[in-house]
Symmetry: C2
Subunit: 324 residues, 2 copies
């Protein structure tokens, strides 16, 4: 199995989770297997199960419970990808056709529901009450995050607080939960559980900030989706938010017009990208992501040095390394 480098330290457990994942996807409904399999096999790094396993192992969680819990964190993620692709009308995901393009929105909705439900079922069996509450809370938050983002489409008066609220819910919440449930399964001390939860939250912020910056920087070949996507969809993200602080009234008006256009031209999108770059918005975004990576590492000081803690450091660093 090809493995994300920081996960070498849990290679064995991650392989078990992979096996567990295949066993759990055992429906007698063909579409669950094909569409579920399609998206599970799409080559993700298994960041979420990996985080759960490392966090759990840090506090000596019993593997027979930790592995299934970690496995279904990927199911929860997969379910949200399926549903988000419907929301975004995404045609590509990780460089290949999205599941809704291949199987249709109907199948994507239902297979997403199936995977959510399967995850909840497994969490009820292996995770216990606390894990379930945290996970259910997260599913609510993720849906709210996407809805909030829809509400704020085209709104250049989005505040920084609102932006962080959105990215907390849509990205950081699940990563934070992955780390926290590892801690809960291992009956971590309160201080340790909080550290894991915060680590997950901070890398979540960093990850989304970088992702939002990439939408301004990169092109279709390198990130598997077209650049300027957020601008096209009218989403105000940090690079623009930051740039707008230095904008004149007439600049604001021009940006606002592009963002509220349903099908902006390439030139319009390009002009907003240029603006964000020129005002230092993209740079600011990366800088802020780096700060969150440092904060994420800092909170882990509650744990003594170990190969597991080192792996969490590496994951945090990886998020911003891909920007340089």
């Amino acid at each position: 199995m090809k493995i994300f480098k920081p996960f070498e330290v849990i290679r064995e457990e991650l392989e078990k989770a992979e096996e567990c994942s295949r066993e759990l996807l055992n429906s007698n409904v063909r579409l669950v297997l094909t569409a579920g399999g399609y998206i599970l096999d799409s080559g993700g790094k298994r960041v979420r199960p990996g985080l759960t396993i490392i966090s759990g192992k840090l506090v000596e969680a019993p593997l027979e419970r930790l592995i299934p819990v970690a496995t279904v964190m990927e199911y929860m993620h997969t379910a949200t990808l399926l549903h988000d692709d419907i929301v975004d009308g995404a045609k590509l995901r990780r460089g290949r056709l999205s599941a809704n393009e291949v199987f249709g929105n109907d199948v994507a909705v239902l297979v997403g529901d199936y995977m959510f439900a399967k995850a909840i079922y497994i969490l009820a069996v292996y995770g216990g009450d606390k894990v379930l509450k945290v996970a259910a809370q997260t599913v609510q938050e993720m849906a709210e995050g996407e809805l909030l983002q829809l509400e704020k489409i085209g709104d250049i008066n989005l505040t920084e607080e609102e932006y962080f609220d959105i990215i907390y819910r849509k990205t950081a919440s699940l990563l934070s939960t992955c780390c926290e449930v590892g801690g809960i399964v291992g009956e971590a001390r309160e201080e340790e559980r909080k550290a894991l939860k915060n680590y997950g939250k901070f890398i979540g912020y960093a990850f989304q900030l970088v992702d939002d910056a990439f939408d301004y920087i990169s092109d279709e070949k390198t990130i598997g989706k077209p650049a300027g996507n957020d601008i096209r969809e009218g989403k105000v993200t940090y690079p623009l938010l930051s740039a707008l602080k230095k904008a004149t009234e007439s600049e604001k008006e021009r940006i606002s017009q592009v963002l509220s256009t349903v099908e902006p031209t390439k030139e319009q999108i390009e002009s907003v990208r240029q603006f964000a770059f020129e005002k230092g918005g993209v740079e600011e975004t990366i800088k802020l992501a780096r700060e969150y990576v440092e904060r994420a590492k800092e909170v882990l000081n509650v744990f003594p040095e170990s190969p597991l803690r080192k792996a969490l450091f590496e994951i945090a660093d990886f998020i911003v390394e891909r920007t340089s």
Copy 2:
């Protein structure tokens, strides 16, 4: 509060559930409130919370746990309605515009997810482990049922077993679960829990059979959606399944052709309806529904006579009464 007649016996509890429902829908995201509220307010009979309350009260379940559990059974139902309307591309629901028509598929997906997650959260808090497992199992089954139905579109070789498998998952499973969880919250004896579960399953079968018959009988004015919908969508349901048993090869071929046409004409749809009527398929469907209603009432013999048991009888009878 206007109330479904058999629920008069639990009016007070149902009103509490209504209040609980409003309290639970307390997101700070506007779209959750508007879209969630839109569908919750669309005038359902609250069959699912009502069944949970009656079932629970039959075995003296504590109200402080029964009410929230019952309340979120409607949330689970609402979530599936939101998602099913996307699958069906439904424009109408209970005689008014469906939520996906008003708010868009994106909002419908996400608000559905939110309501699922809220339901799971509340079940984790008030229902306990067993309730959660049963509920999570049901969500899986419902998604599988819809997927199975999609797989079988246009397939006139659908077996009776497959048909019942589909309607169990898409309809009977949740009704059965509503009754069962009432029993579980009340710590019902094994025999009582099973009786409640089976009662729910049998009325579920009856309900879906009648619904499928109505699609052949009724028109837009009386049931709030156009007749012949299932034929248009290529769904083989019991009226046709039953009629096909008596069909000649050439009749089968003709029917199969209509069902696999993407946009069949009114005349084509009408010809399939006629066929199902003439071969007695609609009549057979109603007859079978009546049988399930009787079986549903029979299993309740494990409980002594009481106003609550009588209410469950009335609900069962109501399902087939609307056909005469």
